[in-house]
Symmetry: D2
Subunit: 403 residues, 4 copies
Amino acid sequence: MVEPMSLYRRAPDIWRPFDPEVLDTLLADFEATAAARDEAGGTAKRERDLIRESGLLGLSIPRDLGGLGGSIGDVLTVTRAIAAVDSALAHLFAFHHFQLATLQFYGPRQQWAPLLEETARHNWFWGNALNPLDKSTRITCGPDLGEHRINGTKTFCSGATDSDMLVVSAIRADKPGLTVAAIPTSRDGVVVHDDWDNMGQRQTDSGRVSFKDVAVLDEEILREPGPLGSPFASLRSSLGQLILTEIYLGLAEGALAHAVAHVDANGPAWIAAKVATAGEDPLILRNFGDYWVQTAGAAALTERAQTQFQAAFDLGPALEADERAEVAVSIATAKVAAARAALDVSSRMFEVLGARSTAAKLRFDRFWRNARTHTLHDPVDHKLQELGDWRLNGRLPTPSFYS
Amino acid sequence: MVEPMSLYRRAPDIWRPFDPEVLDTLLADFEATAAARDEAGGTAKRERDLIRESGLLGLSIPRDLGGLGGSIGDVLTVTRAIAAVDSALAHLFAFHHFQLATLQFYGPRQQWAPLLEETARHNWFWGNALNPLDKSTRITCGPDLGEHRINGTKTFCSGATDSDMLVVSAIRADKPGLTVAAIPTSRDGVVVHDDWDNMGQRQTDSGRVSFKDVAVLDEEILREPGPLGSPFASLRSSLGQLILTEIYLGLAEGALAHAVAHVDANGPAWIAAKVATAGEDPLILRNFGDYWVQTAGAAALTERAQTQFQAAFDLGPALEADERAEVAVSIATAKVAAARAALDVSSRMFEVLGARSTAAKLRFDRFWRNARTHTLHDPVDHKLQELGDWRLNGRLPTPSFYS
Amino acid sequence: MVEPMSLYRRAPDIWRPFDPEVLDTLLADFEATAAARDEAGGTAKRERDLIRESGLLGLSIPRDLGGLGGSIGDVLTVTRAIAAVDSALAHLFAFHHFQLATLQFYGPRQQWAPLLEETARHNWFWGNALNPLDKSTRITCGPDLGEHRINGTKTFCSGATDSDMLVVSAIRADKPGLTVAAIPTSRDGVVVHDDWDNMGQRQTDSGRVSFKDVAVLDEEILREPGPLGSPFASLRSSLGQLILTEIYLGLAEGALAHAVAHVDANGPAWIAAKVATAGEDPLILRNFGDYWVQTAGAAALTERAQTQFQAAFDLGPALEADERAEVAVSIATAKVAAARAALDVSSRMFEVLGARSTAAKLRFDRFWRNARTHTLHDPVDHKLQELGDWRLNGRLPTPSFYS
Amino acid sequence: MVEPMSLYRRAPDIWRPFDPEVLDTLLADFEATAAARDEAGGTAKRERDLIRESGLLGLSIPRDLGGLGGSIGDVLTVTRAIAAVDSALAHLFAFHHFQLATLQFYGPRQQWAPLLEETARHNWFWGNALNPLDKSTRITCGPDLGEHRINGTKTFCSGATDSDMLVVSAIRADKPGLTVAAIPTSRDGVVVHDDWDNMGQRQTDSGRVSFKDVAVLDEEILREPGPLGSPFASLRSSLGQLILTEIYLGLAEGALAHAVAHVDANGPAWIAAKVATAGEDPLILRNFGDYWVQTAGAAALTERAQTQFQAAFDLGPALEADERAEVAVSIATAKVAAARAALDVSSRMFEVLGARSTAAKLRFDRFWRNARTHTLHDPVDHKLQELGDWRLNGRLPTPSFYS
């Protein structure tokens, strides 16, 4: 019940994998330049390198493979903390680990263990080129296993720029479903377009990647169990949804924390108020109370979902379909609440800050722009429909890339 | 992530204090007659006796004093479960244990231990006559310790009817603050008026109790540390707030569960829908999803608050002021969320049930009437103001009978 | 911008059809007994007779047919005023005129003019037995025109009890659509069941009417143009929707007016407020402001819809389909806003009135119970869907009994 | 009931003062460049000149003084139409006429008539330097009437850049209240700083103006009746509030119209929907219906307030205090509703447009940024408090620069 960001410092057991000072230093650095970088957009090369140097790219890699040995929960907690100061960098950080987890969800240990080990050794930063809704990238598989070729262009490839490795999806003409592979970004024929220029999440580099006759080795394809190939494999979608949830929550907490930090509580109250200072105005206090209740509710649901996800993840391939469904419901619930909290607090924070808080240099609108952009990943209304179907009809969410 | 009420059955460790069948039987019985008793109002004598017979009046009494040895958390969990079927009975049950806790908050062990022991032995049901806002009841203390006398009338005395013991508050002319005492309801001069007739919480017997020259023994007065006499003593107010919170949450869960049970999912959809059955209508599913997200958010906050409260309660008199404040903030947060969920779901449940669900015999409006009545205990707006003051100004809630 | 109810007194031109004192007297009488009659339920025989005696049953009947010569707009304005004190009586009053209008929508002048004249002469009170969703009432038409027979039972027949005339709908086995006829309630075989007992709108007598071999004369059937037989005929559905809208609006205004009248503005503010009286508490004032803005928005939309409806009604059979659609959109818009205002203000009024306002004798919950019951007539969500379809796709509402 | 913007074309009597083609041409031009100019910020010199050339700067100037002879209502209607495509230009346009009205509110006819005549003759564009909350600009008045001098700096001086004339306020050391004067922007010592760079309303040039020993002639001071000097004079504040209201409304209507225009209704629905196209998705249609109801409610209130304002304005100095108060209440009501509609629709429009609508080049976030910035002019919460005080306590709004 203290400042959201210091919360992480209070729980020493969370930080066993690394020195909390490392994160604090990153957060302070990111905060100092967040407004300027939001304006600039483009690739946060310096900050990506700071993340590389921090060692946190190895957070979710087991110690015996050269990583820090943290849990997925650790990754999510750090993601939330970064999101409170810079939700674009939070997305890049989380999506790196999301790709590492994807290897584990879709492939066997003998395939992912060496990749994680290499990642730790070379401090690789992974990017995303797996967009299930984008059907234009196709893979052709020759008779010889070395002759797979990918062609086409993918959109929304977060973190591809400046990445070392990519997880890429493609469609085969001769069978349904996605083929997913892990390849070096430097592979011949891969072109990462620096063409992400959106109103929010501006430094996520979520632009296009095009593939021209890109060779894919057979051992680079994740096919056991492959995408949605088992309850555990489909838990990858749950992790994607949970990462979004943590970022929304961080955005809500960040917006609230910035409102607290910047409101002029000792300044004069509005002329129609019967109190001396803004900090004593019952209407302002009521607003802060309201932002808090919303944010805290989203936090409680998210933390619960995170705990449930961790337990499911720890089960590994033993995870059953109905256990996976329970986690999916819990995450969907938290996601709706966090999306609403992020949108509401980031828009309403101005009501306590007043007209001068709209100065462009403050860029306080970035919280709303980031929340608004990111919460469109998949429709909240359809998430509600899915939850209603579960609650009313007892229908478990059908595993998909969004459920 | 299953039916709220079966949730309790899934957690075997919660039920160590008693056989879960006992509660299930009570819940089924209360549910069967809830509508009829809501209509009748008055004293639920039969159900109070069922509670007596169940042994649950001893739930929070330590085993060595003859009770079941359950925790306050057990009481709260049972309260929430009862509230989902009958929030008036939940209030009576919770307020009995609230009085037992009050003895422990305001008095020393040598005073409360015998009272708890007697309670277990005689299966006493305790009622409330402690209303801090009601200034009309006064106590005069003579030079001789046996000459204390209470005169006046108190309102909102929940559970006084059919009670064996009362916790009563009164004001002294010669010093500030409340004097609180525990006396038998049968004491000469005590008249319990059966005059509670309100639109909701109809069987809580929250009517008036009048006192005419009622003798109070010195040892019946709780004065070490007395009301608000220490951080631990003021935790009594937190428990009162948390009991309300659990009841609100139970009401929200009960309203949702009844909507699920009574919607005709296989019946025809509204003529303008493009689907065959009501249970497939996206707009109905979206509503159910919405009720669920609200209810789940309140549940997550309430469970967290309950855990924090239990930890603080277990500290006993060692509890520090700032620890108590953290608990108060957590409970206040949950209380606002639970109040909103209860009001919203109980009003909106009709949107999925349709016009025929307004038949008087169903009395589905009881969820809203109960929520509306109970959530007026103290103003939600002022709770938000208090939370805002804490979040913005870092001001800890000042212990009072409502904070 | 004054008390909603006195608004009607300020507009002298509205009242040309009758002496405003007549309405004021009715309103004061209804208000005095509204709580008691809400408790009693059943038929408001005395109040129905007061309406009869007031002459207002002839309000919408042209002067040359013996009526007061008021407009439909006059009927709606009176309906709204009555709804602010008793929405059940408002419904009975409005539905009487709704039946008179139905004759004009569905039949030719030579058919309805004599009926209106008889109505004025005998001071008939009309009731409703036209429920398009209720398929169990059937009409068989013999070769001889005098041999039509109705059999079956209809539900939701508002105002049938104590009525003199009924508009009844039935289904023919040999052709689609509804057959609608106007018959005396005393016709052999008609049985009005006094079985309406619902949580709200308790004195609308909206119970069942059963028909056993009830003879219907050919000239009693409204078949030129018949139900939905022309744009003007389908304007009858619009009037039904607008009547609901006016009642919802009256409920919102009534709830607000009762909150204003009953709040103890000079009483002490809540203990945590920094002001002396409740009437100065910024949080209470903000709530009142909020109720007002919602209610005023619904009023502005409803008044606009009423004006547009009147213009369309005055066009008579010359009304074009797209003109009718514009009116339908305007009414649907107002209906959603008025439903929301009624539900919100009637539930939230307690937040400014406090716990003592839940005393059963006050029956302040009747505003919410009435609003909740009446707003389920047809689903608000589907009304929104229809409006969205119009706004996005430019699709005009398809005339039906609900659009 | 058609596209909001074509609404103006349907009402020929509104356009008597000028050829509607003139406005249509302006709107089309502004729309085409709105996104680019929102990005650029700074002074919309080209568009200001288009407004100059359109003749619309003379819209509110009587014909006998060389203007178009339109009403204030005409100005407001045009403001709303412009705001739907560019709310910054709408503000500049409205504030020009606001200054002309200020002359008439605060000065006698012999003072303002020549100024309006000159304005028409030279096609002057007026800017604002009247900010009542900004106390740092002071006027000293010498014994000789020609020796008034203004010194200091004002903030939020909308439209000062590229203006020909300014209305400026200053404080006198020797008496309370504001001194308001009309002076040429080119007067020695006036420096208009082009330093407005805010997140919204980016081309309103609402930066600072500094005054260094600026001479003010006695006849340039508006002192009969002067600021707040009479009910009619204080109607100037009402006009300011109404201009904001019209702009908020235009923003809501513009956001909705852009959502309609850009949603891919024939494109595929979301994968979880049971319909083929997005335009048939009930959840999307429901959202559009919701945006519409909110916007229409704000429109109905605003149009009513506009009519009442016009009537009050037409009364001139004969306006009574309570008549002025009624107008103020009506405008405050509309303002709250319009602010909410603008904020809600501009944020939620993305829910129907989807993730690709966040592309920076579309700049659809400008509706929210403009609404968010502009609705902070004065706090909505305090407006609600004022309305509550009127509705509960019957207290008329005290005339001020914000009420």
